[in-house]
């Protein structure tokens, strides 16, 4: 893939992100922030992709750290989000009245 194809994908994905997120009600801002935190943990893939071809102890150590960081992001992010949302779920009547946005 060349840069322009990547830009194409980037632009479209950014639009998707804007559209999806712009509907979020206030109540869910904090869980959402933490869920997106989990998603950018995807950088973990970056570490996995290059660790084999990287030479030298320093590089490998740094990449193990990067992978660990990414994993913290992913697992921690999803767990924390789930914990928060679990509390919302406990409520008798979960339907949200779409207060602020729109």
């Amino acid at each position: 893939m060349d840069l322009i194809t990547e830009l194409t994908i980037l632009a479209l994905a950014a639009f998707v992100g804007f559209e999806v997120i712009s509907k979020v009600p206030n109540t869910l801002h904090t869980p959402l922030m933490s869920a997106t935190n989990a998603i950018h943990g995807i950088v973990l893939l970056g570490g996995m992709l290059i660790i084999a071809e990287s030479e030298g102890v320093l590089s490998k150590v740094l990449l193990v750290i990067a992978i660990a960081f990414g994993t913290i992001n992913v697992i921690g992010g999803f767990l924390v989000t789930d914990r928060m949302l679990e509390m919302f779920k406990k409520r008798p009547k979960p339907a949200e009245k779409p207060g602020a946005e729109e």
């Binding site: 992100g17 904090t30 767990l79």
Partner: protein, 470 residues
């Protein structure tokens, strides 16, 4: 054997990535609706698992032992942290998680550049530019987030730490980082320059966030979140990885929107937040300005208890202090007790009460406050005139009538809870100190306002005991 070949087929792996990012999007759509939020989060998690498996299938990926080591390390650190963090500490947690993401991007970019040098020199611009961008943004985000964490966790003072002329210092640092990047892009093949770039960005991240008042932190975290997303997308462009690009772009967009929503709700502009120096977390004395103490009425738990139990309608307006004191469970108990006595209790939720959007919702949900009792600002405001007693618990700015009336006030124009319109107002706080915005609150001096000083949890406990004793 043929299965293995099929699974390792680059096109198959790319299809898996498409599945993964589709699940991210579907998941995030879910997270934006209360009824589907939890399932959405899980769907996004499945997407992540697919992305990881797809990556492991790639033929060039190896060093599985080291990968496993990283994953295990991350799990061992991440899981307990996520399990044990208190709801009140969420802002810090989000900052910390955000930081490690940025850190990972910076490290990966650095190693990629080293690899390229090992292989004989700078990579093609198409790959190099994203690497440089990812390195700068990732480093800024890592260090900035860590400072934000330290401030919120009170490891370092939450107050704005000002350095004279620091705007210039920041500008200089940015120029160094960008200059190094341009030099590399222009052909310089130097690990040293790359390290300089990382270092300048790191110092910049520190310098930008240090002077920002602890209370502006959530906006800053959200901004840094957007940056981390962008850096991940840049890393994805360097690595030709669609899942990274799409995931990063979504996070970037989401962070941008949330930053904006928060800034608007606080009536602050993002540049002025980043410029720093606003709001010190409530230690500056009232900014009324004329030095003269205006009279206020303080009250005690027994009077409050009798006022409450005589009321028909009570509204609780919680704020940051509720989170600090962790008074949510006690408040719920008090409400239960009052309802037993026929008092109708509801909660007025201001969108930026506390230090995170939705902070109050999460806290009160944790304490099992029934959902119907929580009312958003627009819903509850018309009801204050028919309210007998409003109990302001650790809220300050979000109840400040100056936002409505005083054009000179820094928060003028911010929508507030009109608690002052209810018949009686009781404010629970520890002192006459200001809140986040560092400005005086005329509410406290109103005829119909009385103050119950003390830690919110302790005060509510006393009131509860007094109600029970009635």
């Amino acid at each position: 054997m043929t299965l293995a070949i099929f699974l390792q087929d680059p096109d198959f792996i790319r299809l898996l990535y498409i599945v993964a990012f589709v699940l991210f999007i579907v998941g995030m759509r879910g997270v934006t609706h209360p009824t589907t939020a939890r399932r959405g989060n899980m769907i996004a998690g499945v997407g992540m698992a697919i992305a990881v498996v797809a990556t492991l299938l790639i033929r060039e990926v190896g060093d599985y032992g080291l990968i496993a080591l990283g994953v295990v390390l991350g799990t061992v650190i991440g899981v307990p942290a996520a399990r044990q963090v208190k709801m009140t500490a969420m802002p810090q947690m989000v900052a910390l998680f955000n930081g490690v993401g940025g850190g990972a991007v910076a490290l990966i970019s650095y190693v990629e550049y080293r690899d390229a040098l090992d292989m004989g020199g700078n990579p093609a611009l198409e790959e190099l530019i994203p690497i440089l961008l990812a390195a700068i943004i990732g480093s800024v985000s890592f260090w900035g987030s860590n400072i934000a964490f330290a401030k919120l966790q009170e490891l370092i003072p939450g107050k704005p730490v000002g350095v004279p002329g620091q705007q210039f210092v920041n500008l200089a640092l940015l120029l160094v980082a960008v200059g190094a990047a341009v030099a590399i892009a222009a052909g310089a093949e130097s690990e040293g320059l790359f390290l300089l770039l990382l270092l300048a960005a790191a110092v910049l991240g520190n310098m930008v966030v240090l002077p920002i008042g602890g209370a502006d932190m959530p906006v800053v975290i959200s901004l840094l979140n957007a940056l981390t997303g962008l850096s991940a997308a840049a890393a994805g462009m360097a690595l030709d990885n669609v899942a990274l690009i799409v995931g990063g772009a979504i996070v970037g967009a989401s962070g941008t929107i949330l930053t904006n929503l928060m800034a608007v709700a606080m009536n602050r502009s993002i540049p002025s937040i980043v410029a720093g120096g606003f709001g010190g977390g409530g230690t500056a004395p009232g900014g009324g300005g004329d030095g003269e103490e205006r009279p206020h009425r303080s009250t005690d738990a027994t009077s409050v208890a009798s006022q409450l139990s005589l009321a028909d309608r009570v509204v609780v307006a919680p704020g940051y202090g509720l989170a600090v004191a962790q008074a949510q469970h006690t408040v719920r108990e008090l409400a239960d007790e009052l309802e037993k006595r026929g008092v109708e209790v509801s909660y007025a939720i201001h969108p930026v009460a506390g230090r995170m959007p939705g902070h109050m919702n999460v806290l009160l949900a944790e304490a099992d406050v029934p959902y119907e009792a929580l009312k958003e600002m627009d819903e509850i405001n018309p009801e204050f005139p028919e309210t007998d007693v409003t109990l302001v618990i650790g809220a300050n700015d979000v109840t400040n009538p100056a936002a409505r009336e005083d054009e000179g006030s820094p928060i003028y124009g911010m929508p507030i809870l009109d608690v002052d319109k209810s018949e009686q107002v009781i404010v629970l706080k520890r002192s006459m100190n200001t809140g986040f915005a560092g400005i005086d609150n005329p509410l406290f001096y109103n005829e119909n306002t009385s103050l119950l000083f003390g830690d919110a949890k302790a005060s509510v406990q006393e009131v509860l005991a007094a109600v029970k004793a009635l």
